[in-house]
Amino acid sequence: MHPRTIKDALRERIARLSGKVSASAIADDTPIIERRIITSLQVMDLILELENLKGSPIDVEGLKPGAFKDVASIYAAFWGARAGIGPGGAEPGRTGGNGNA
């Protein structure tokens, strides 16, 4: 499938799940989590949509920070040259505690 076709399909699915914006308002670099276009309640549904679009299961445990930042990141993580590896990023720290909000 052509990259543009995949990205448009991603936009359409994100917009449908969100209900807040139209697909045309989602650019390749629109931050879908930061802007809470996709919330925690919708992220698992988005993963299911991606699995349908991709035709194969996604290893949720293996998802890396930044993989769902925007349409371009999702495309790169699951269809790009490094698909299956995902964008790099630091693993979450293990120092959470009561000094924090």
Partner: protein, 313 residues
């Protein structure tokens, strides 16, 4: 820097540890507490943050809007009272109110509608709910916070601890600029005083994280960056543990504060608007007891060696 690898909070004059997970401060440690908080307040004043003081309780209804009870049931602490029915009160008073193990033998408890504050900044979102902001809001408060843990360590991990926060409510860019400004300020401060701090991405301590989509979302888009102190105790003990394999006993790295970007989560939950959208928010949080630990270990107990301005009386 003073060789402080033998620092033991339990032997520190002016610091009394309560095994319930609380400390009492006087003398030097109390002076340090005040000087640190004065420094944080001075930093807050630089952005014009308005100071607030909140009560110890926050409404359970407000925390429920954040899904707090599903995300952090293991941390929450409730203020409990007895059902006021005279027969119930008599049953409590005339029985054996205190058991031999130190626990109270409660009769029927009244409905619990309040929670002991788990994080200082939550009060702000409840306070400003429904507001339309014409400009970004900069705020600060210090609160006694309560988080139930599986174990406690003096100054390092407490049930009841003090948290100073500097908070911004605004657009995404306003909040990001605010957080970036304080990140740079703190980096410069730590470098200038020689406190060994590493910045690390962290996650909130969700209950049953694998079953919580909020945990997954934080993992995909990290929003918490901690100031992690690694002092001589942890470094020396780690080397010793590596040299002599076996059960390692050394201090864990200590997160003394964090910078948090909440996206528009609180703005949406409490109907706070900025520039026609749900307001974004972010905070700088300082765990005062942990700062005391880091300063006493790194710089010693002599106040003249603390790299801090003198606090006003």
């Amino acid at each position: 820097m003073e060789a402080a690898s033998r620092f033991d909070p339990g032997k520190m004059p002016g610091l009394r540890w309560h095994p319930s997970g609380q400390t009492s401060l006087s003398g030097g440690p109390l002076r340090l507490f005040r000087r640190l908080d004065a420094l944080f307040q001075a930093w807050a004043a630089e952005c014009g943050a308005e100071a607030h003081r909140f009560p110890a309780f926050i409404a359970a209804r407000d925390l429920a809007r954040l899904d707090y009870f599903r995300s952090f049931p293991h941390l929450v602490t409730f203020p409990v009272t007895l059902d006021p029915d005279p027969a119930n009160l008599s049953a409590f008073a005339q029985g054996q109110p205190l058991g031999e193990d130190g626990s109270l033998r409660l009769s029927l408890a009244a409905p619990v509608r309040e929670v002991l504050t788990p994080a200082a900044c939550y009060h702000f979102y409840a306070l400003f709910q429904g507001r339309i902001l014409e400009a970004p809001l900069y705020l600060t408060t210090r609160a006694a916070c309560f988080r139930r843990e599986t174990h406690y360590l003096p100054l390092r991990r407490q049930w009841n601890f003090s948290m100073r926060e500097i908070v911004c409510l605004g657009t995404a860019d306003e909040v990001k600029d605010f957080l970036q400004h304080y990140r740079e300020k703190l980096e410069a401060f730590f470098a200038a005083i020689g406190l060994p701090i590493a910045w690390e991405t962290a996650m909130d301590p969700f209950f049953n994280p694998k079953g919580n989509p909020k945990y997954l979302l934080q993992k995909l888009d990290p929003v918490k960056h901690e100031m992690v102190y690694r002092g001589p105790t942890s470094a020396a003990a780690k080397l010793a543990a590596e040299a002599a394999p076996g059960p390692a006993v050394f201090a864990e790295p200590l997160a003394i504060g964090s910078i948090n970007f909440h996206r528009n989560y609180f703005g949406e939950a409490f109907g706070i608007k900025r520039a026609g959208e749900d307001a974004f928010s972010g905070c700088i949080a300082f765990g005062l007891e942990r700062w005391i630990y880091a300063f006493l270990e790194a710089f010693g107990s002599d106040p003249s060696r603390w790299p801090l301005p003198e606090a006003e009386a």
